[in-house]
């Protein structure tokens, strides 16, 4: 690895911490971002000559802080914003107070504030906590870079003008606000897990980034069951990534090469799920949606073959999920387990009642059930609808081949 790559890697890894600390000190995201960028330039000049300092994150934070102060002093006679930043400048080192142990935790709640549009929450989180460049985020969500830059600028302006606070929410607001943060991380993960648009069907850079954010949240809030649940869910999905696409086709769970699953990630995910179950037993608080989804994934990844899958357990978990977070998509997933337990006819009756005609997975599920019932013509029509609605090429390729194995019309 070249010196520049090494600096880039460290900078990416430390970016969230550096920016979060600067936002706290200067009360302004733009000031923080500019200073972090200047610190990178200083590192690029200095580190190849003098070597990487023993605590590169600390060096970047100190350097960025000094640059920010220099700049604010230089510009204080000009901008009211900078004068304001100097006035609110908070030089106290951050200390753990209650659940606040890290500036990044405050920043993630600012980025995922419900007063910001969901796509802005995602972009801000990837930019400020993940350290992705605007170009990288734009590419990940298939929008022009100027569009993404405007989205970020608008969101930051709203944070400043409306005074969206830089703070971990009060205890009574925390559950709702945390679920907004988890929704953002899960959205990033899902977009990587099965991309909705053209291009690569699976985007490892997005699933990887979501897991990095999930690990960060788990470090910051180790006692939060849903944070652990979301991390476990993402790890267990990621474990299957290497064999989810083969030869340009999506490979569904029953057909995946289980020897290709990442055993380390599975072990880590299972340990988290066990931790969640033990905590739930201890506290008497039932598991939330992410823990239940993680448990479903744990059951799947625990089965040596598809036939060995404990479908009763999966049906029971989805039934619990229907109680916690009801949605037709959850019922659709329960129907898949019911098909294995009670046969496709019972399951199809469940599926047909769901208002999901715009959702490609509904058509896929119907197609598979109709196939098993020998209703080939109806299965073909369902595959047609699924192919029409599928977002990416790998899924279309798989469904087209599947449709091709039906008896000729």
């Amino acid at each position: 690895m070249g010196a520049t790559d090494e600096i880039e890697r460290i900078y990416r890894a430390e970016y969230g911490r550096v920016v979060a600390s600067l936002v706290r000190r200067f009360g302004d995201i733009d000031v923080a971002e500019d200073a972090a960028a200047e610190a990178l330039l200083a590192a690029v000049e200095r580190w190849p000559v003098h070597g990487v300092p023993p605590n590169p994150g600390g060096w970047l934070t100190t350097t960025a802080g000094n640059r920010a102060i220099d700049r604010l002093r230089r510009e204080s006679h000009r901008g009211a914003k900078h004068r304001a930043a100097l006035l609110v400048m908070d030089d106290t080192p951050h200390e753990p107070t209650g659940v606040v142990t890290d500036d990044r935790l405050r920043l993630v709640f600012t980025c995922c504030h419900p007063a910001l549009a969901p796509e802005a929450q995602v972009a801000l989180t990837l930019r400020l906590l993940g350290g992705l460049t605007v170009a990288e985020i734009a590419q990940a969500f298939l929008v022009p870079e100027t569009t993404m830059a405007q989205r970020l600028t608008r969101a930051k302006r709203k944070i400043r003008e409306a005074r969206i606070p830089y703070r971990v929410p009060a205890a009574e607001d925390l559950p709702a606000r945390l679920s907004a943060v988890l929704a953002v991380v899960y959205l990033i993960h899902n977009e990587g897990y099965l991309a909705s648009g053209a291009g690569a069907p699976v985007r490892a850079e997005l699933t990887g980034e979501a897991i990095r954010l999930g690990r960060l949240l788990h470090d910051l809030l180790p006692e939060s069951p849903e944070v652990a649940g979301l991390l476990a869910l993402m790890l267990l999905s990621e474990a299957r990534r290497p064999v989810r696409v083969a030869g340009g086709e999506l490979v569904p769970l029953p057909d995946q090469d289980r020897g290709g699953w990442d055993r380390d990630l599975i072990a880590e995910g299972h340990a988290l799920v066990r931790e969640c179950l033990a905590r739930s037993d201890r506290t008497g608080i039932g598991p939330g949606q992410y823990q239940l989804l993680a448990a479903v994934n744990a059951v799947h990844t625990d089965a040596p073959t598809t036939a060995d899958t404990d479908w009763a357990q999966i049906a029971a978990l989805y039934a619990q999920l229907e109680a916690v977070a009801p949605s037709p998509i959850v019922t659709l997933n329960r129907a898949v387990a019911v098909a294995e337990l009670d046969g496709p006819e019972v399951a199809l009756a469940m599926v047909d009642r769901l208002p999901l005609a715009a959702y490609h997975a509904w058509h896929v599920t119907r197609a598979e059930m109709l196939r098993r019932l020998g209703r080939s013509d109806e299965a073909r029509t369902a595959y047609d609808a699924a192919i029409e609605l599928a977002g990416n090429e790998a899924e279309r390729a798989y469904l087209t081949r599947r449709r091709g194995t039906l008896r000729a019309p």
């Binding site: 005074r163 969206i164 607001d173």
Partner: protein
């Protein structure tokens, strides 16, 4: 502290309380909410407006002021009333807006006022 405008809009065609029996509980809830704003030092100003049919528009951007009957633009929605409050940040303003929305039984839009220009430096 920042000042926020909490505004309540009427939308054409949406049902509105009309009889005294319907309005009385809302008036009382809004009074209680206003008292709470005052007690907690968040109150700046508030008021309800007469229907949009009472509006008059003045345009003095030209040479002579032009006075016309009606709102400045035909619209399906119009301002029905508002509060101006003082709050430390948006979270606090949103909490007040939640209570205000419950009290007046309508949607509440929250907007921050621009910062006041800096006070004159002493000579």
């Amino acid at each position: 502290m920042t000042q926020y405008l909490l505004s309540v809009h009427h939308v054409e065609g949406e049902p509105m309380p009309e009889t005294m029996e319907e309005m009385q509980p809302i008036f009382e809830a809004v009074d209680r909410f206003n008292d709470k704003l005052r007690a907690e030092g968040a109150w700046v100003f508030a008021g309800g407006l007469h229907p949009i049919s009472s509006a008059t528009t003045v345009d003095a951007t030209g040479e002579k002021p032009i006075v016309t009957d009606g709102p400045f633009a035909e619209s399906k929605e119009w301002l029905g009333g508002f509060w101006v409050i003082e709050a430390p940040d948006l979270d606090a303003a949103l909490r007040w807006a939640t209570e205000g929305s419950r009290a007046c039984a309508g949607k509440v839009e929250v907007r921050p006022f621009q910062d006041e220009p800096p006070a004159d430096e002493p000579a």
